[in-house]
């Protein structure tokens, strides 16, 4: 048995707003201001949740309950899939030494399920930046095969010093702003998000036409600059979706402002799309890179933009990188021309994730 899998709803809380629609509206209005977060002696730009709650666990509970509310009524036994790269490590930091880690490393997921008021099957995914799509892929597989009919996929990534300090130590963070594909790009800007997607076997406005994950083993800290593995995953995804490169009208790129990864992604996209590269869109200059939550948060954001027929500009790009060449990120002034339609009513879009540690993922969503 195999059947289509639809996206029946979403929820989102991130630096840009407290619902997918609010985030889309903020992006359309040009919002991209970041806050700051200090680790050790250095301070970095950072995109925090709009919350003043200082207690890590209460902050997490507020975020999860807020997103749960956006999903509307759900049967209590709806299967839950949770994606995070850091889980509750910020809570342990706040508690201080001696650190009391639970015996089961994803015990926090049980707490999230209780906050969500869901008591059905629960599984956790931690594949760095592609965690969200790994979780969607598992849920989709069970729905497509008829094993379940509905699933909630939650992406959660909340502030912690371990992640910020780890990325800082590897010199992967920008000290200024996220500049996707730009010649001046100098690293990532991290952020927080709690996001959810409701998948269903019942027909809805959007369906997942393709989803593939892959591995780039060039290095544990960065992809093959040639982009070959990233291109392979995108081609597999196009094949699964039974569409041609020309059928894709918009790409939500990874493009986090990383010197190496942005170059690899640009090279990969040129291999797949040739000279007919569709308009590109990066959310990371406005939301930050929300790591394990990014797949879910960016999917929820993109769906809200597509539903509003308003594709926002990507902030931070201004100077072409000679190594990358000209690249076309959506901007509002030219989007009527670039998107080839008057109201940007896009039928099919691709979403690309390139994970820290070699994980790759590509999804194609299609209006049903």
């Amino acid at each position: 048995m195999t059947r289509p899998v639809y996206i029946a709803g979403s929820g989102l809380l991130c630096a840009r707003g407290n619902s997918p629609e609010a985030v889309a509206a903020s992006l359309w209005a040009g919002g991209y201001e970041a806050g700051k977060r200090r680790v050790g002696e250095r301070e970095f730009p950072y995109f925090p949740l709009p919350s003043t709650e200082p207690d890590w666990l209460k902050r997490a509970e507020q975020g999860v309950r807020h997103v749960r509310q956006q999903l509307g009524p759900l049967p209590a036994d709806t299967p839950l899939f949770i994606a995070s790269s850091s889980l509750q490590i910020g809570h342990f930091e706040q508690q201080g030494a001696p650190f009391k880690l639970p015996a089961a490393n994803a015990e926090f997921s049980r707490q999230i399920a209780r906050w969500m008021r869901l008591d059905g099957p629960c599984a956790s995914f931690s594949s760095a930046c592609i965690s969200g799509f790994s979780a969607i892929e598992a849920a989709r597989s069970l729905i497509a095969s008829g094993q379940i009919d509905e699933a909630i996929i939650v992406g959660i990534e909340l502030a912690n010093n371990v992640t910020l300090a780890g990325f800082a130590a590897m010199e992967l963070l920008s000290r200024s702003v996220c500049r996707p594909f730009d010649a001046r790009r100098d690293g990532l800007v991290l952020g927080e998000a709690v996001a959810a997607i409701h998948l269903s076997a019942t027909p809805a406005a959007w369906r997942i036409a393709g989803l593939r994950t892959g591995i780039d083993a060039y290095s544990t800290t960065g992809p093959d600059p040639d982009g070959g593995p990233i291109a392979n995953v995108a081609v597999d995804c196009l094949n699964e979706a039974n569409c041609l490169p020309g059928d894709i009208k918009l790409i939500k790129v990874q493009a986090a402002g990383s010197p190496g990864t942005d170059l690899a992604e640009a090279n990969a996209l040129r291999q797949v799309f040739g000279q007919n590269l569709p308009p590109l869109l990066s959310f990371k200059p406005a939301l930050g890179h929300t790591l394990g939550a990014s797949g879910i948060a960016e999917l929820a954001t993109l769906l809200a933009c597509l539903e509003a027929d308003q594709i926002p500009a990507t902030a931070g790009y201004g100077e072409a990188d000679p190594k990358i060449g000209p690249i076309f990120l959506v901007d509002r002034a030219s989007q009527e021309v670039s998107l080839g339609c008057n109201n940007c009513h896009i039928k099919r879009a691709m979403l690309n994730l390139i994970g820290f540690g070699g994980g790759l993922a590509c999804m194609i969503i299609e209006r049903d």
């Binding site: 250095r42 030494a97 089961a104 994803a106 594949s127 820290f356």
Partner: protein
């Protein structure tokens, strides 16, 4: 439907793990965390060289996760100078194991890591359902499913290798079936060990995997 290799159950003293890696590779796995080393040893023990180039997915779960490494990093960041050594940070990222394994398992195309939320409970039901679906789709030739755990003194691994085509030594067939009142095996981390025990019993009647994640159809194991 899928065919299983004989289940693989491995136990090492923690200090013996690097030697186990050197035995299979002929060299150490450079700058690899213990979970990555354990995963590599199991992958290579699960697949003969002739099958390592075939399209492969890896689905692996862990109760402990990189616990010792996480504790060390928390100490380093919270009570130390603020920024850790890069390789200490990499050691708490289980996802990088796949990139470290792929050079030795060139067919490895996809990997997912499932941290577990309850001691004594596995996610074999989810892993095996995903593996069955992917094999049915023809997405991969084989899927490796594993549970890996570390304690300060031991390393433990349980592996099931599934393929669409029957192998010469496949002792078990796996398929979805309506839930029947037959003998069940619990979805515990060491579930493959219970399959091994079953293979050695005289009662060869099929077994169902009994999981708290009760999906619509049961996973039914039949001896070949």
């Amino acid at each position: 439907m899928a065919y299983l290799n004989p289940p693989l159950n491995q136990h090492f003293a923690a200090e013996a793990l690097p030697a186990a890696v050197r035995t299979v590779l002929g060299k150490p796995l450079r700058r690899a965390a213990a979970l990555s080393q354990l995963a590599l040893v199991g992958c290579l023990a699960s697949l003969p060289e002739s099958r390592r180039h075939l399209p492969t997915a890896l689905l692996w779960q862990s109760t402990s996760g990189p616990r010792a490494e996480t504790l060390a990093l928390l100490e380093e960041v919270c009570t130390g100078s603020g920024e850790p050594m890069p390789f200490d940070f990499l050691a708490i990222q289980p996802a990088i194991a796949a990139a470290q394994i792929q050079p030795f398992l060139p067919g490895l195309q996809s990997a997912s890591y499932f941290p577990l939320d309850t001691v004594g409970q596995g996610q074999w039901s989810l892993l095996l359902n995903m593996a069955l679906n992917w094999l049915d789709e023809g997405r991969y030739a084989q899927v490796l499913c594993a549970h890996l755990d570390l304690t300060p003194n031991t390393a433990e691994a349980h592996w099931l290798a599934l393929s669409h085509e029957p192998l010469e030594n496949s002792p078990i067939k796996l398929q979805l079936s309506t839930i029947k009142p037959q003998i069940t095996l619990a979805d515990t981390p060491d579930f493959p060990q219970h399959l091994t025990d079953w293979l050695q019993q005289s009662d060869s009647s099929p077994r169902n995997l009994q999981s708290p994640a009760a999906y619509r159809l049961a996973l039914e194991f039949t001896r070949i």
